[in-house]
Symmetry: C2
Subunit: 339 residues, 2 copies
């Protein structure tokens, strides 16, 4: 049995998304229990709307406060000790749940998770990792915004964590790791990237060298490492570009009666294409490097997307990701590979 705590109040849509997504996840995942954390009356009203009540598989845990989407992390940490976000993470700390999922404010979630759960031994700072679709399959990329400045040692830690996550969840024995850079030759890039390149080369990871931006989507890496500044801009740029392309396709098909008719004909194909790049299927980023599993859902996630974030939590709990990262780091430290 796997138990996951949901920050039911988090995200742009709160219980309107988290509660129905929880009910869907329970339908699809027999061995799962969920704890809905948040304001009792709000959650109960939403459960009522779906004609669902608490059961042994879905329980309600009251938390009086809600973290705003724009609240500064330090303020949340200091003042919102009974927030649904904080209490969901406390449940992981106490062992009442094996993972927490939140669609709330990323900065506050990271600060809270780090404060409550602490980082694994050997990890300076947690990172944010997610899956992106590629031409051939998919790739894990980190850090996506938790750390705007990173040392080579931290980037090495990211590579180790990403590598172990892929091994644990996907059974890939030796994931190919790439380091994001502005060129593939050894002389390219800034000092941090060059030093990280050396660290990765002498590590026992399956390091494939520098990769350029286009190889995120067209290459064949399993893990791509970058600092959180670059990673965040890369991810958001991709979201913006995909949004623009979708908008242009729609505009062209809506131009006149003839194009509207051809849209009807092309609809099944367009839907198949859309499904393939549907970002909802990739929702659920992991705050990696903590003593426990915390999954961040996109703030604007809908029911399908949020259910995917819950499923990511299930997969990581099943495969014991934090413990395996801890073990691998200890083994590498014993060999002097990491500090």
């Amino acid at each position: 049995m796997i138990t996951i705590a949901l920050d039911a109040m988090g995200g742009d849509h709160g219980v309107g998304v988290t509660v129905p997504a929880a009910l869907e996840a329970l339908k699809h995942q027999p061995g799962l229990k969920l704890i809905l954390v948040g304001q009792r009356e709000v959650i109960e009203a939403e459960l009522g709307r779906h004609r669902a009540a608490g059961s042994d598989r879905i329980t309600l845990h009251h938390a009086s406060e809600v973290v705003g989407m724009d609240e500064p992390p330090a303020q949340v940490l200091r003042n919102k000790k009974d927030s649904s976000m904080r209490v969901a993470i406390n449940l992981v700390k106490e062992g009442a749940a094996q993972a927490a999922v939140s669609a709330g404010n990323t900065g506050a979630l990271m600060a809270t998770a780090r404060f409550v759960l602490k980082t694994l031994p050997g990890i300076d700072r947690p990172a944010i990792i997610t899956t992106l679709p590629t031409m051939h399959d998919h790739v894990h990329v980190l850090d996506l915004g938790a750390n705007v400045d990173c040392t080579p040692d931290q980037l090495l830690q990211f590579a180790i964590m990403g590598s172990i996550l892929v091994t644990a969840v996907e059974g890939e024995a030796r994931p190919r790791v790439g380091l994001l850079n502005v060129g593939e030759e050894d002389i390219k890039g800034n000092d941090t990237v060059k030093k990280t390149h050396e660290l990765l080369r002498s590590s026992s990871l399956n390091y494939a060298g520098f990769v350029e931006g286009d190889e995120i989507y067209t290459g064949d890496m399993d893990v791509i490492v970058c600092d959180g500044f670059v990673g965040n801009i890369m991810l958001k740029t991709s979201e913006g570009l995909a949004h623009m392309i979708a908008h242009f396709i729609k505009q062209e098909f809506r131009r006149n009666l003839l194009t509207k008719l051809s849209a009807l004909v092309a609809l099944p194909v367009l839907q198949a294409f859309r499904k393939r790049v549907d970002p909802r299927r990739y929702n659920g980023a992991t705050l990696i490097g903590l003593n426990g599993t915390v999954i961040k859902s996109h703030g604007g996630a809908d029911v399908l997307a949020y259910e995917h974030a819950i499923m990511e939590a299930v997969a990581e709990v099943k495969n014991n990701v934090p413990a395996r990262i801890g073990q691998a780091l200890a083994a590498m430290a014993a060999k002097g590979e990491v500090v």
Copy 2:
């Protein structure tokens, strides 16, 4: 009359692209003269293939060497003094041409242009700027890879140069300038970005604040500033994602007979869409901040794309971009706005 020197040997396709593109540009731009720089016999053979010969509007300037696409810039600078790239830029220096266009190796082109033409007074290092399509229109972004590490002063210089380019070429009196960051609040980002934010705020530019990655394509800025590491990764990530999306659309339409038939029906719409995001129409990045105009074409550019790079050179020469940047910098220095 505008005279532009073309590095006829540069790029993946050399004269096979540069010569026919030159002939097309001359057809479309009456007041234009072009100097084809490179190996005489190679260029003459290609001109012959198009039944074109030298005229008063197209002349040939021999240069014995060719810069390889992967040759290290320092080596090119030292050893390839009679390369088509170097000689084309020399022609700008000597006043025989008002701009140079090259599809050659970016690093070598930047190093050569900087060595031969020197930077404008007040500019520490040149940057690479290009136009990208946006949901509403288009945007100029810099730096795209010339400078992997940038100081706040350099980023301010980039903002000034981008702003003046947009004013000069597009007649936009007060271009909106955004600074690429991982969030929009003042507290977000690394030290360099925060310091640049302050410099831009107290400058006389029309600074609109931080923008996130998605706003490159969906926002309404005229100029977006970032360091070359982030800019290069952003640009290449976009190329990779666009390539993947195009690949997926093609795959879905080719899946079976039915989808192939619907592709036929949707063809005009797909072509209209394709034309709209056609990267060839945006080919031609400017090495900005030099005493002279140098345009970098994509290495893999085809005839249409290369012609666009020539047209970008024409627009910048017509509008006197380097001189206007020099004047604006002098005026801002007099007011103590820049160092």
